[in-house]
Amino acid sequence: MKGYITDIETMGLVDGPGTRLVIFLSGCPLRCIYCHNPETWKISDFTQTISPHDVLNMYNKFKVYYGENGGVTFSGGEPLVQSKFVLECAKLLKKHNISTALDTSGAVSGDFSKLLDFIDLVILDVKAVDENEYKKICGNSIENYNKFLSLCQKNNKKLWLRQVIVPSLNDDENHITKLANYIKNIKNVEKVELLPYHSMARDKYKKLGIEYKLNNTMDMDKQKCIELEKKLINLINTKTS
């Protein structure tokens, strides 16, 4: 079995716990306005292929760098687009006691309960809490995401929640409060990360001939993003009566 990928990061340091092998899979149903990997949207002729054994071999090759809590993260694109391949990989990795993480938007329809049995951590991208806002950012309905989150909750999956923060889109306190209240109702959340929007992908759009929708948006101030994250975590940890 083959998977279609756009890139492999052998020294993944920011996508899941520890140092990890990150597989960037091709294909994504969403068209988020701030997407920084537009080259992963479509499975094209230039896409490379890889087998589950290739993934295992690559992990073993660099194992010495991955420490005790490292492992493999499936990212993308949207890894659920190739869920069968991810399942085969995860099965094989779990057979060798390797930690697996799925970095996903959850925005694909289908039954992923079998896959989740072989995934240790779901890094879930919370694009937006509100249905309309979600559609505005991603161009799709929030329905698939909601179903996927419910499945994670039902199967007691460990979760890391992430959100990209974009100036004047979702960087206000009001928004953070709303997000905090939303997260409070989710169980098994181990970590919450806010990622500052950056425009470094603009060149990729140019090369691919795709229109960049945030041309007039500044990069998110990193310090402010860190402060918002602290605020969010404080709010989540505050008990409400």
């Binding site: 890139d7 492999i8 990061e9 052998t10 020294m11 340091l13 920011v14 996508d15 520890g18 140092t19 990150v22 960037f24 920084h36 990997n37 090759k61 660099f62 010495v64 760098y65 991955y66 420490g67 809590n69 490292g70 990212s75 970095d103 990360e193 990622l195 950056h198 425009s199 470094m200 992908a201 060149d203 990069d219 101030d221 990193k222 310090q223």
Partner: protein
Amino acid sequence: MDKNEFKEWEGFVGESWKNSIDVSAFIDQNYTEYLGDDSFLAPKTQKTTIVWNKCRDLLQKETQNGGCLDVETNILSGITAFGPGYIDKPNEVIVGLQTDTPLKRIVNMYGGTKIALKALEAHGYKLNPEVQKHFVTYRKTHNDGVFDAYTPIIRRARKNGLLTGLPDGYGRGRIIGDYRRIALYGVDRLIEEKQKDLQNDFLDENNLEENIRLREEVSEQIRALNQIKEMAKSYGYDISHPAKNAQEAIQWSYFGYLAGAKENNGAATSMGRDATFFDIYIERDLKKGILSESTAQELIDQFVIKLRLIRHLRTPEYDELFAGDPTWVTESLAGMLDEKHSLVTKTSFRFLHTLENLDPSAEPNLTVLWAKNLPMGFKRYASKISIRTDSIQYEGDDTMRPLYGHDYAISCCVSSMKEGKQMQFFGARCNLAKALLYAINGGYDELSGALVVEGFNKLEDEVLDYSKVRKNYSGMMKKIAKIYVDANNIIHYMHDKYAYEASQMALHDTYVERLMAFGVAGFSSAVDSLSAIKYAKVKPIRNAQGIAIDFDIIGDFPKYGNDDDRVDNLAVELIKEFFGYLDSRKLYRNAKATLSLLTITSNVMYGLKTGSTPDGRKAGEAFAPGANPMHGRDSSGALRSLNSVAKIPFANCCQDGVSNTFSIVPSALGHDETEQINNLVNILDGYFVQGAQHINVNVLNRELLIDAMNNPWKYPNLTIRVSGYAVNFNKLDRAHQEEVIARTFHEKR
């Protein structure tokens, strides 16, 4: 009291180190390993703040003054040549400067008058004419001696940049005295031991010259020891006896180092491995209640301030070669005693903590000897300080310890030596990329057109044939090795004769082991060139003289730095072969040959003096530094690049060091500082567990990223990653790099 017993040793255990000079045994039997974290550390004291603020002002003035604050023009170098000097006497707990005021540089003429006078002139100074007249009239220098003996072919090889940076006009450096001996034994005991080595009534006729030379040297060593005593006395200290407390232990050791820095001007004058030794005294004082954590840190902070002020007078050419006026006052920290016990003490932390208490600084060159079993608390603290200050380099203790024992120190950047038992003849570098061009061009230099190495035919094929090139290259390397060895034999013969480092050698065993440290520049370019010739089609473009001045490369080829054995094996085979040629020759004073892949910043200059190479590198372009892959060619990720370098053999080949540089921005290392620290620990563990020797971790801040834009070769494989988005910084054009800098670092620091 027993003859071998001093009251200053009260509370120390063990006997063996009392009967003979053996600092290592003293450490093993008396140190206290520390397994905790950094929470015990203290901020700088009021005294340190005052002293450091004065130094900051002086350092700023030095920069404003074009990089040199002052030069002493009436007195020449020497251990007792200068009166005592202070920064702020009442607040200094460790004293001693090279001259009578801070940052005033010494003129050292023993290595060569030409370079010394040139350096003076470049900085706008003139030596006292009387001093100059007498020195030049009555004294022959190392440089004079070398050029009396150089062979014609050495001169040609030197002139054409085949052999570069040879220490034939100034001090060779790289020698580390075991300065701790002064603290532990006092100077009188050391003199007594040296005198024993002069007791033979008769010379050994089978070894006549060496015997006479050594007798003269030991006498000079004793003279130097007496001078160190005299110099210390000018600061009000009697160092004839052992040090009685921590302040004295650090002060005594520093006087030993300082004597070396007054007497010599070698490129690298490193400090050694002192933290754990000092810690024994600090622990004893803490127990006695005569020292607190705050005053213990004060001693280390102030000692480090002194090391930061070490200066040598250099020419503009030297500064061009080694940017940033480096002195390589390397201090080696941590490492293991054996498989289970580390040599980490609280003072190992205190040394790293100086980077927080004072400002980040390149000097002293703090070097962590990394091992798999180092205590996690120390690993994490070192990583944290790396991320915050970018001022630490790492070397593989598990790689070096089996060869050097557990009491070795790093000299310069990567050269390991047993403290007090081994010395080094620094041998600079041979340009292996140029040697390959000579193999193609029949010994003619591709830039000057001169015939440098005779006895080879030009290769005249339209497309270069790998086996022919490789065969010629072997012959060429063998011959060049002979030239290179001859040059170093002459240099070190003359250096011993005219510029002997008496104070530093006095702090070695009399029967010392000598290493002759050869080096290679242009390594990755030579390797990729071989790969191109083997796996692609390489057509030389020849000038009228028939010399290949450029190359057409048709097709792709595997490149060093991608963990690809097809080319990495060529790299290993090449370096082993060249070392074999060096190792098979007879070396001055029966030295043992070692080899390094280390260029520091000189890769730019060596590249400038080298024509286009078959790997696609154009004439004049910089080489990659040290053992690094060529920038931009290690395109399959940082770990594959590290893996390629980790394959270069250390033991019995590149035993003088395999230097590697690794760059990353902090945000790319992890989402928060805890993650960043853990991840850096993982990378270092993963790299060194493969038998690697050295890594320079550039955790880049904004200023460094700007430097990376201007000097891409200094930051190989620099990846900027922001959660799922990666760019290779060096592949971006200038305008885009500026943009990335603006975007990556728009926050206020």
